[in-house]
Symmetry: C2
Subunit: 722 residues, 2 copies
Amino acid sequence: MDIWSYTQNGYNADDTVTNGNRFLIGNGYMGYRGTMDEWGRGEMAAVNLAGVYDQNGDQWREPVNAPNGLFAKLSVNGEELSLGKAEPSAHSQTVHFRRGTHSRDTEFAAARIQSERIVSAAEPHLLASRLTLTFKTDGRAELTTGIVTDIWDINGPHLFGHSYQTGAVLLAEARTGELDIPVAVAQAAQCGAAHDEKQEVTDTGVYRRICFDAKAGETVAVTLFSAVFTGMDGPEPGKRAAALCEQALSDGYECLVAAHEAAWEKLWQNSAVELSGCDEAARALNASLYHLHSIAPRHAGNLSIPARGLSGQTYKGAIFWDSEVFLFPVFVHTEPELAKALLRYRIETLPGALRKAAEYGFRGAFYPWESQEGGAEGCTNYNVTDVFTHRPVRTYFRDRQIHISGDIAYAFWRYYEITGDLSLMREGGAEVILQCARFYLSRAHRRVDGDDVELLDVIGPDEYHERVNNNAFTNQMAAHCMSRALALTEIFAESDPAFIDALLQKLDYKDDLARLKTVYPLLRPVFAEGEVIEQFDGYFALEDCSLETVRGRLLDEREYWGTNHGVAAHTQIIKQADVVAMTALFPALFSDETVERNWRYYEPRTEHGSSLSACMHALTACCFGRPDLAWEHFIKSASIDLAGGGKHWAGEIYIGGTHPAANGGAWMIAVLGFAGLSVRDGEITASPRLPPQITSLRFPVTVRGKRYRITVTHDGWSREEG
Amino acid sequence: MDIWSYTQNGYNADDTVTNGNRFLIGNGYMGYRGTMDEWGRGEMAAVNLAGVYDQNGDQWREPVNAPNGLFAKLSVNGEELSLGKAEPSAHSQTVHFRRGTHSRDTEFAAARIQSERIVSAAEPHLLASRLTLTFKTDGRAELTTGIVTDIWDINGPHLFGHSYQTGAVLLAEARTGELDIPVAVAQAAQCGAAHDEKQEVTDTGVYRRICFDAKAGETVAVTLFSAVFTGMDGPEPGKRAAALCEQALSDGYECLVAAHEAAWEKLWQNSAVELSGCDEAARALNASLYHLHSIAPRHAGNLSIPARGLSGQTYKGAIFWDSEVFLFPVFVHTEPELAKALLRYRIETLPGALRKAAEYGFRGAFYPWESQEGGAEGCTNYNVTDVFTHRPVRTYFRDRQIHISGDIAYAFWRYYEITGDLSLMREGGAEVILQCARFYLSRAHRRVDGDDVELLDVIGPDEYHERVNNNAFTNQMAAHCMSRALALTEIFAESDPAFIDALLQKLDYKDDLARLKTVYPLLRPVFAEGEVIEQFDGYFALEDCSLETVRGRLLDEREYWGTNHGVAAHTQIIKQADVVAMTALFPALFSDETVERNWRYYEPRTEHGSSLSACMHALTACCFGRPDLAWEHFIKSASIDLAGGGKHWAGEIYIGGTHPAANGGAWMIAVLGFAGLSVRDGEITASPRLPPQITSLRFPVTVRGKRYRITVTHDGWSREEG
C-alpha cells in the first residue's frame, strides 16, 4: 500500500459528489474539486475561493466559486469522450498526498485520457493541468478547453456582467452581485501536436477548440494554465491573471510542478507524522494532513479555514469554532506563523463580534457562529429545513451558541502558552480576550435571591439540545475566558504596564475588571471530583434511552435530530462530545478518574453526529490510559474524507464536503493523544500511550523557532533537533 | 324569541358532539351532557364528575365520568326507537336556562318520545328524568333502562371491579384505578303503566326491561331517579346513593323539580342581567350565566371550576387561570361566598404549588398550570400532538407559564378590594400571596452588569410564543403580586400585627420582605405613556405579517400554530390578548390613549385562537369609549356555546367542550365593560358605555351583604337596593 496516495479504480456515477471531496486539491487560496477535466456544474465541478463571499437575494450568503479555467473535453471523430457519457474500459482517479496532485487515467475505445492537475502550492493564484492523450484509432481529435462560467452554486448565481477576451490568453471577468467584487480567470494552453485552434464565446464561457489529426498509437500532450484573481487581491485582477498565465507559459509546466512539489515537501518536513504498524492508519493520517495543508490560507496572513475547507459552499464557507479548537492545535505545534495568521483573522473581525453583541443587547465581543469576511455573521435563524413540512426551522445556533467567544479566547491563550509569544496579544489578542470576557459578564445573570452566576438559554457543542441553562462546556469556557482576561492584565502589568493601562483605558475596562474578579468564580457548575458532570441544568432528568431507541423513532432518515421536535431533543442522546470535550480541553481541572467516569457515561449516549466528536472522545480515552478505546475514533476521524463518510444532510439541506476539523482531530489524537505531546514554557514532553496497532510514531514539532523530531514507542520517547 | 331557552329543531348526526356541550345541564357536582336518553359512549353521553380524577397508565390524568343512571331506550314491537337508528319525523331539543332543564321531543312512526331531565340544583347528588311516551300504534313496548357502566372516556377506562345490585333500586359500584376511589350510582324507576319488569346484569351495566302493552293514542309516563356518590363524599357511597333514590321515589318527581327550579330562581335573582334592545344578545348572555351556574361547585366550598366546565374530560378537568381571571369576577360581584370558595381551592392546594416550585428549584408557590385535586399538576410536558409526525410535541405550558401564580394573587387581592373582607386573607390568602411573591423573587434574574430585574424564559397568555423573556403581562402580574405582598403586610401591621408577625415568622419571610421592596420596582418593562408596549423582548423584531398570511401557511387545518415549528411562532401573530389583557386588568396604570394605541396595534395581530381573548379586547374597547368595537367580541363570547364555536383541536388532540371563561367574559363585558361597574371600598359606581345595540342593562350586584339593582341606559345609571 502506498501511504502517500489514494486511488480509486473504476467508475461509479454515485461517487461523483463524494469523489469531488475525496480527491480535492487546493492551496488555501482556492480549492479545486476532484472532478474530471470534462465535467461541469452538473457534476459539481468547482473552483472554490477562500474569503470571497456573496449573497444572492435572501438566500444564504456563501463563498464564490470562480469560473473553471481547466475545463477540457476531448472528442474523437465527433464522439465525445467524457466520463459519464462514453463508457470507459478502465478508469482510475488518484490524489497524491505528498506531491499535492490529482490525476486521472481513463481508457475509452478511441483514446486514453490521462491528466495531472495542480493548484500551485508555490503561487496561490495558479492552477495547471497536463493532459496526456493517447489515441487508439486514427481520426480527427477536437479538444474543447477554455474558461467555463456556467458554474455550480448552492445559493447562486453570484457572478454577473461577464466579459471575455480571446487571444493567446483567454480571459473571463465578472463581478459579484452583492459587493461588486471583480473576479477574473485567465487561461493559456499549449498543445504538443500541430493543430488548428478556433476560439469562441458562448453563454457558458470562452472556449478554444483545438483540432488535430490523431493517429493510433500517438500521444499528444496538452498543458493548461489558469490564473485566478479577485478584487480582494488588489486592482486590475484581469490584467494580473492574464500576466500570470503568460508567465506560466514562459516558465513551462515542469518548472511550475517542481516549485509546487518543493513547497509541498517543505510542508511535510514540518508536519508529517510517521506512523508505523498500520499502513491504513498511516495513509489516513497523511490524507488528513494533506487536506489541512491544501486549505490553509498561507497566502493571506489574516484568513481562517472554513468548516468544509475549500470543497464547496457548504456551511456558507464560514469559519466556525472548528478553526480554533480543531485546526489551530496542528498548526501551533508545526507552523506557528500560520496559527498566528488564523487568530489574526479573529483580531481583524473583532468589530463584527462587537456589532453582533450589540445587536443582541450585550457588551463585548460575541463572535459569529459562522464567520464570513469582516466578521459578518453568516448564520441565519433558520439553519435546517423540516423534512415533513419543507419549512425552514428556527434554530438557535446564531444567537445562543455563545461558547464561540470563549473558544477563540482559549486559542489565543494556548498560542501564548505554547509559543511564549506575547506579540499576538499586543497585536489585538489581548483586546479580543478582554472583549470576550466582557461579553460573558454582560450575558451572565444572577438569581435575584442567590449568588450563583448563570449563563442561561444557550447551546453547547451538542446542538441537539437547544436553549439550555448552564451548559457545562459553555460555562467553563466563559469562566476560563474571564479568568484569562484577569491573568493577562496581570502579566502585562508586570511586563508592559503602559500597554495594558492604555488598553484598559481605551476599552473603559476598569469597572469590568473589578466585576470579573468577583463574577467568574461564581459561575456554575462547580465540578465535584469523580462525579458525572451534568451537561446542563436538567439533563439528567431527560429520557435516558439508547441511541438505537432514538434512531428507531426516525420517520425519515434525513430528519434533523435537534430542535424542539427532533427525536434526540428530549432525551439524553447527544450529537457530539460536550462534557467530554470540556475534560479534553481542560485536562488540568479533572482527575483521570473523573475524565473516565464522564467518558463512560457520555460515550454510549453520543451519536457522534458531528465529525468533531470522535477526536474529543479519543483524546480523553488516552488521558485515562485506554488508547485502545481511542483507536476506533482515531480511524474514523482520520479516514473521514477517504471513506466519504460524515453527514450529507441536515433536514433537507446538503452539508457534504471535506472535514477539516476531523483532519485536525486525527493529528490531535496521534500527537496529543497517543504520543501525549505537551509543550509548556518551551519545554516539550511526551507521555506515550500507543494503542497496540501502532509500534511507533515519529513527528516534527516546532517550538520557539526550532524544529524537533519526536519519536515515541511503547517503551518511551526521545527528542532530537532538526 | 324566548330569551330563556334555546331549541334546535331537526336531527343532524353531525351535531352530536356540539349538542352534548350546547345542551349540557349540571349542578357543580356533576354535568350531564346534552345527549339523548338512549345514547351511550359512541355519542359521548357522560355524567362528568367534579373533583374526582384518575390516571390510567401513562395517559393523561382526567376527571372520572360516572356510570349513566338515566339511560332509557324504547322499543315498540321489537323496533328500537333510538335517534340515529330509527328516522324521526320530527325532533327537537331544548335547554331551559331559567329552570335548568333539558328536554327533547322526538316523533317516530310508532311513538313520540318526550323527556325532561334535571341535575338537581337543590340536591347535588341527584339526577332525574321524566319520559312521556305517546304511542301511535298498538303493540308491545319495551323500555330498557338502568345504569350503563360502559361509558365514554378520553384517556380511560377509569372504573374497575364493577359490582351490581338489582332490586327496586339498582346499584352499580366500581373503583377508580389510580386512587381506588369508590364510585356508586343508584337508580330507581316509576312506570305509569301496568308492566312486567325483568332485571339483568350484563357486561355493560345493570338494566331493567320494563314491558307493557301499548295502545295507539295512549301516553305513558316513566320517571327515573339516579343518585351518584363517590368516596370523596364520605363513606359508603353505595348505601347513600341507594338511600337517596329511595327518598326521591318517595318525594316524587314534581317535588324534586319544584325544589330544583326554586334553587335556580334564586341564582337568577342574584345574577340575571336584563339586556334590552337585542334579544339575541340577551339570550346569549342568559346562556352564558346558565352555563356558569350549572358548573359552579356550590356543594363543596373548596373546589374551583375546570376550563371546560363539566362537559367532559377535555383539558383533563383541570383548573386554569380562567378561574381567577374570567370566572371569579362574576361571582365576586354576585355571589361572594362562591367567589371565596373558588379561592379557597387555591389555599387548600398551596402545598401542591410549593412542591411544584421546589421541583423546578425555586422557592415559594408555583401553581399548577392545570390544577387537579390537591394541587397536583395535570399539565404534562407534551400537550400537543404534531399532525405531521403524530408525535407528542414538547410544550412549555407546565414549566414556563409562570403568570399563573400572579393571576391567583390578583384574584385574592380583588376579593379583598371589592368585599373589604380580610377573613380570606387570614384563612390562608395572605400566605398564598406571600408565597407567590416569593416564587417570583426566586424566579427572577438580574444581569450581572445591570440593575434591571428580569423574568426569563416564560410564556405569557399568548401561548404561540414560547420561552420568551420579559413578557409584559407576566412581569406586570409578578410586580403586582410582589407589591401586594408588601401592601398586605402593611395592612395587617396596622390591623392585626400579631397575625402577620406570626405568619412572617412561620414562613421565615423577613429577608424576602426586604428583598421585595428593592426588587419589584426594577422589574422590566417600564411602560412609556402613549407607547405600544412590546409583548416580550424581541417581539417587534418578529415578522410582521397579516393573520391571513399566517393562516395561508397552514398545511393542515389542525396544525398547532405555536411551538418552535408553528406558523405563528416567529411572527407577530398572537393567539390571544396579552398586552391588551394587561391593560384590561390594570386599568389604573394606563391612560385611555395608551390602552387604545395598544388595542389598535395588537387587535389585527390577534388570532383570538383562545376563547379568553375576545373579552379582554371588548373590555378595553369600552375603556377608551368605543363599545361599538366591543360588540362583536361580546356576541362572540356570549354565543360561543350556543354557536358551537371555539377550537375543537390542538394538533391531534380533541379540546372541545363548553367555554366557562368566555361565559364569564360575556358577563364581564356587559357589566364591567358596557355598564362600567366598579366597586371600591363598598362603593358602587358605573360609567355607562352602551353600544348602540343595547338600550338598557339592569342587573343585581351584591356588595357587603346587600343586594343592589343597577340600571344603566344611554342617559345614565341608577342604583336601588333589593
